[in-house]
Amino acid sequence: METREKYEVVIGLEVHAQLKTKSKIFAPDGTEFGNEQNTQISPITLGMPGVLPVLNKRVVDMAILTGLALDSTIPSRCKFDRKQYFYPDLPKGYQISQYDEPICVGGHLDIAGKRIGITRAHLEEDAGKLVHAGSNGISGSNYSLVDLNRAGTPLLEIVSEPDMRSSDEAKAYVEELRNILRYIGVCDGNLEEGSLRCDANISVMLKGATEFGTRAEIKNVNSFRSLQRAIEYEIERQIELVEEGERVVQETRLWDDNLGETRSMRGKEDAHDYRYFPEPDLMPLEISQEWIDTIKATMPELPAAKRARYMSLGLNEYDAGIIVEQMELALFFDKIIELGANVKTSINFLMGEIAAYLKDEKLGISETKLTPENLVELVNLIEKGTISNNIGKQIIFTMLKDGTNASQIVEKQGLSQISDEGALKEIVQKIVSSNPEQVNAYKSGKIQLFGFFVGQVMKESKGRANPKTVNELLKEMLD
């Protein structure tokens, strides 16, 4: 640990976000995930002799929206280039990408009070997928199969400045970026399915040093957990090297989640010469201010603004953060606010019983039968005193499961709160007279037994007794 304290860690991230367009970036094929292999492959996707790319305008819309959300500049002109290398998942032998004139320039993103710079974001096409028989990689396998469904899916590669100083910051950055991408509807941000992929550039230097150390690029990180583990592993590896007087090599390293280590993929010496040159099949892309303004007008509330608004409604920072992190839940919550329900009672349900249920059942809120309207009705029944909070906590599970509304359940099961003093007095009288021992003990000073009486009354009333009235009546009768 002491050794580690001597070092400063420098992290920059390259995030590849699959844009959620219906069709591919340069071809009309669909982009759905998980379809049967090689069913989304027009001659264009296959790189058949003679085909040409045509830019999907929706891709540009989404890139502009992302740029605006990250406070980037959208230059009036950008262009596409060919990045050339041979691999069986790359049908044309080159990837259409953007080299020196990307669609988004500059920008930033804030995490917990710290501002992380964005260098650029550029558009490119995704490659296909390979499946190797008898091995993890192409070398050593008996044969490899190519699935080109994914080839040509639009990607926005968002490159950060090397502004992060810990794996926690890196994780927070990716989480916040993912939130933004999901809120603006351009990417579903699923690391496991690969719709969001992350490469980390990591280096270490002695604290106070002015020059960054040599960096390694870590690929193949496909969950938040493995992102943090990979970064931590790499930091330790590099510090160890430096401590032993060795040098960190500039290279690409692959994270192995099973072994929990990174290993060298290729060094700088045998790095590809990608021979970038301007894509002659596509005209440079001109983006007018008008186009940008049209997109700007569609910008929804971003996560940071949402969090601030929730806190202004009385939520604490933690709750606001948790809700915003789950977009579905936040949109659900927004609807509840809009319908005018009590915020505190609503949030108690959302953070309590509902959250627990979702966690147990591994569901999203939209996968349950609960509607915002039904929850609001329930909250209002509690606020009006028609039912107790406890009853509310019981019936919410029924509502989640089968979608019935609260008033139906209350009526059907006779759950409405008993606030009528006459009726409650009867129950209280019954409890007091059937527990003479406890009454004596209480009266001789064991006042903590008061809770016992309340519990018995609630039990006898099947939870319907108004706790406030019960308290009053018990006090009257016992004291």
């Binding site: 040409l52 045509v54 050339q84």
Partner: protein
């Protein structure tokens, strides 16, 4: 050979409409002619008789019903074998695509089919359109109908020879540095390269994307004008196609050209141009003077760099465009590979011919890290200067004129050992591709050994109408234009 095959497309159309011949008979006549002379000419990589006869039948049905007939309906046509026609092989005359069958149609193919033009076959070319003699084909040696010992020019040699030999009335070629105009000139027919972006490239196997353009071959100017009308226009599948209306070129041919200003390109008239070609050029100048044109000499100082610039840009783009032929998805794959890299290298070593390999290596080198600025970038800068030369020239004149080639067709094998000498064949044609302007080669007479000479006319961007107009007037004023090769 049926006499009708020697006629122009408009005459054949008249015969179809007058029911002197049916479209099926006309296409059959073309196939009979191919049977008769193909062993000498070897213009075709494959015949597409099913599609041709099917289309011809549709034409006859339309005629029988008295329905309106598209402009070139029923006129037999050949496609260069680098254009996709669904269900038939598209080989680019390369071993690497020998067994490749097109799964889709090129945009020009769609247009031809919609216009009921019978597609008779796929014509031979230099492998991937790289060459000036069609000697680089992996499959066969197409011969010049005027002298079977000589090359037809390239790279669209099969397309040109098939028209010159009356196997078809029309054909399409592609022109990256002169690949339509040069064989047009060598074979004594019209060969025309349109403005870059005038014709969709979708479905044309790319050689150099920023230079390639599809264009017509025919035996007279009007036919070429009609064919360009049919195949031109913006295409949503080609982002580089131009969204500009297509003029009715074939109806504007009779316009008076009195007072038109024609510049003679100084750099292409002197040294290196054969005496016979010089004489033909003088005749062309005199013809235009007689027609009332004003002639002046125009100098294009950067033109001398065009070959160098071309062989960097074209090869750079080609090295990239040909990367997809890797043995993974379609086409040739080596039988004997021990690893992925082994499969790539052997497939490409065995599948590509020597000229294609040479150009891939040149282009790869020009784009390599550390050399990009010195070669590719510098070439693009020079390309802009060449373009400004032409822009300035077209401020002074309406059209530019030069020989299509300093010499006439040469004998087989005479330049194959010297790539640079072969490259110089394109000295007059290359700049039009670098600049993106339209150009045409029109028959301009014969040399002392009876080989055709071509006159090249160049026009500013999208001035195809003017180009056809001036070509037509020249053709009308000279009787050598309609001469046919004796086979």
């Amino acid at each position: 050979m049926k006499e009708i095959l020697k006629k122009s497309a408009s005459e054949q159309r008249k015969a179809l409409l007058n029911k002197e011949i049916s479209a099926v008979e006309l296409s059959q006549a073309a196939f009979d002619r191919i049977d008769e002379v193909e062993s000498k000419i070897e213009a075709f990589n494959c015949l597409t008789k099913n599609t041709a006869m099917e289309t011809a039948k549709k034409v006859d049905e339309k005629i029988a019903k008295g329905e309106e007939l598209p402009l070139l309906a029923g006129i037999p046509l050949a496609l260069k074998d680098n254009m996709n026609l669904i269900g038939y092989p598209t080989t680019a005359s390369s071993k690497i695509l020998e067994n490749f069958v097109s799964p889709y149609n090129a945009t020009i193919t769609e247009k031809l089919l919609n216009n009921l033009v019978p597609i008779v076959g796929k014509a031979n070319l230099d492998e991937f359109a790289m060459g000036s003699s069609t000697e680089n084909s992996a499959f066969k040696k197409t011969r010049n109908p005027w002298d079977l010992n000589k090359v037809p020019g390239g790279s669209s040699g099969g397309s040109a020879a098939s028209v010159a030999a009356c196997e078809v009335t029309l054909s399409l070629g592609s022109d990256t540095g002169g690949s339509i105009r040069l064989p047009g000139s060598f074979c004594g027919i019209i060969g025309m390269k349109p403005t870059y972006g005038r014709v969709s490239r979708y479905g044309l196997i790319a050689f150099a994307s920023s230079l390639d353009q599809i264009g017509p071959f025919s035996r007279c100017v009007k036919d070429a004008a009609m064919l360009l009308e049919v195949i031109s226009g913006v295409d949503l599948k080609d982002s580089t196609s131009l969204d500009v209306p297509v003029e009715k070129y074939s109806t504007l041919l009779e316009n008076n050209i009195k007072g038109i200003k024609i510049g003679v390109i100084k750099e292409l008239m002197g040294e290196g141009v054969s005496v016979d070609v010089q004489k033909a050029m003088q005749n062309a100048i005199d013809t235009y003077k007689t027609l009332g044109a004003e002639i002046q000499e125009i100098s294009l100082p950067y033109l001398k760099h065009s070959i160098g610039v071309y062989y960097i840009i074209a090869t750079a783009e080609a090295s990239s465009n040909l990367a997809r032929f890797d043995g993974v998805k379609y086409g040739y794959r080596t039988k004997d590979a021990r690893s992925l890299i082994d499969m790539y290298t052997k497939t490409r070593a065995e599948g590509f011919g020597p000229e294609v390999k040479r150009r891939i290596m040149l282009g790869t080198y020009a784009l390599s890290s550390g050399y990009y600025d010195a070669y590719y970038k510098k070439a693009q800068q020079l390309r802009a200067l060449i373009k400004s030369d032409f822009d300035k020239a077209f401020e002074k004149v309406d059209l530019l004129l030069s020989p299509t080639c300093p010499n006439t067709a040469f004998e087989f094998g005479s330049k194959t050992e010297d790539p640079l000498a072969m490259y110089l064949t394109d000295i007059a044609t290359i700049s039009a591709n670098l600049v993106g302007i339209p150009g045409i080669s029109v028959p301009a007479g014969f040399d002392t050994s009876g080989m055709p000479i071509g006159l090249q006319i160049l026009a500013p961007q999208l001035q195809e109408a003017k180009l056809f107009n001036a070509s037509y007037k020249f053709e009308q004023a000279n009787d050598f234009c309609y001469k046919l090769a004796n086979l």
